[in-house]
Symmetry: C2
Subunit: 204 residues, 2 copies
DNA sequence: GGGCGGAACTGATCGGCGTCCATTTACGGG
DNA sequence: CCCGTAAATGGACGCCGATCAGTTCCGCCC
């Protein structure tokens, strides 16, 4: 076969990323190969390299989707909430739920190191920064007395802590320190430690 | 060549693990292959499979060494300290310093997922549990009023938070929330949040 | 409408990988 | 001295990421 023109370049890119995401979710990171992606979208391997620079380029594009998905999920969780304290809790819970509910996507985003030469990916970094700024803004509403530097520091530390819970939960290593697998409990403990006990304590 | 008897099985295992660690540190995870390890110790690839069940088995053995190294480093850091608060701080700083100083070894230990069928590795899990219990014991000395369950919970949450700082630092993603690359600052913030300001505040 | 330039896509190829196993080597007991 | 057997080899297999000369056919121009 030669020229087909069934899909535009952009359509093919989208198809490839979606197919890669499906393979990632269903079969795991190790099973995600360029050959499988190519076969899934009905093209050859060589053609994939006209759409992406290399495999890591495809993975980076996939990671952008994941970052968007997390951002949107957190945004949905907080849009009906007014209290900053509740917002931070909802965001933390949403983050952990995404990580434990989509471990492969989460791991690829945060634990797969891209080679050095691909570092300058402004769009990808911007997606994560947007996610982080959501935390920083909400935290700023809760503790308005903090200066910009202190606020950034506090937000980073807090979110790093939540991120650590996710990291251990996803890799199944939280159980090393006990038996409980309800990661939300650790999340609540982290929130309480940073921001004190919840305002309205439910009975029992 | 056939039978050589230059080294015992156990010696060959140790040589292979040491060689793998060297490659891991010098060249990174992606460059760590069975073929390179075999060549480094002067044997063939096939012989490696008489020493290890497969590549993940070798990596698991390597990870045990890393866990030991972290444990010993933390133990060294705290043996001259009496105050539990200072001990926790020293452990957290030691953990972060190990992670940022040995990123490849740290990543292999915590971010490389072994396949399901290798899950029952009692020795490996015990090494990590020993490390965690060091935290839990020290925390118990600082907050003796906590019951066992609450203590475990608090220790897990605290260490998860420190672990998250490490995770973001190692993957270079802490800078997403700012510019500071002094990970120890986040560490101090986390400690202060959990245990209050340091007892003896140095001037300035 | 016909032909042709070039875009679109293929598929064979390369080197490297993890894994396996039939074969070869040489040590040590008889 | 010789032979059984443990020790180690090396080549084979199927998969991987990546490359690129070659093939096909769309659409423009005359």
């Amino acid at each position: 076969m030669g020229r087909r023109n069934l899909h535009t370049r952009e359509q093919q890119r989208d198809m490839a990323i979606a197919a890669a995401e499906l393979i990632l979710v269903r079969e795991g990171i190790d099973e995600l190969s360029m050959r499988k992606v190519a076969q899934a979208i009905g093209y050859t391997v060589g053609n994939l390299y006209l759409l992406f620079q290399n495999q890591d380029d495809l993975l980076a594009a996939l990671n952008e989707r994941t970052a968007d998905a997390i951002y949107l999920q957190l945004r949905d969780r907080i849009e009906a909430l007014d209290d900053p304290r509740e917002r931070l809790g909802a965001m933390a819970r949403g983050y952990i739920e995404f990580a434990t509910g989509n471990p492969n996507r989460w791991r690829l985003l945060f634990e797969h190191q891209l080679p050095e030469e691909m570092k300058p990916r402004p769009t990808a970094d911007a997606r994560i920064r947007r996610l982080f700024e959501l935390v920083e803004t909400t935290l700023g509403a809760l503790e308005p007395k903090l200066k910009a530097d202190a606020l950034r520091m506090r937000a980073t530390t807090f979110w790093g802590g939540i991120h650590g819970i996710c990291s251990l939960a996803v890799s199944g290593k939280l159980s090393w320190g006990g038996r409980s697998s309800d990661y939300t409990l650790y999340c609540e403990e982290m929130i309480s430690t940073f921001f004190g006990p919840p305002k309205s304590r439910r009975r029992s």
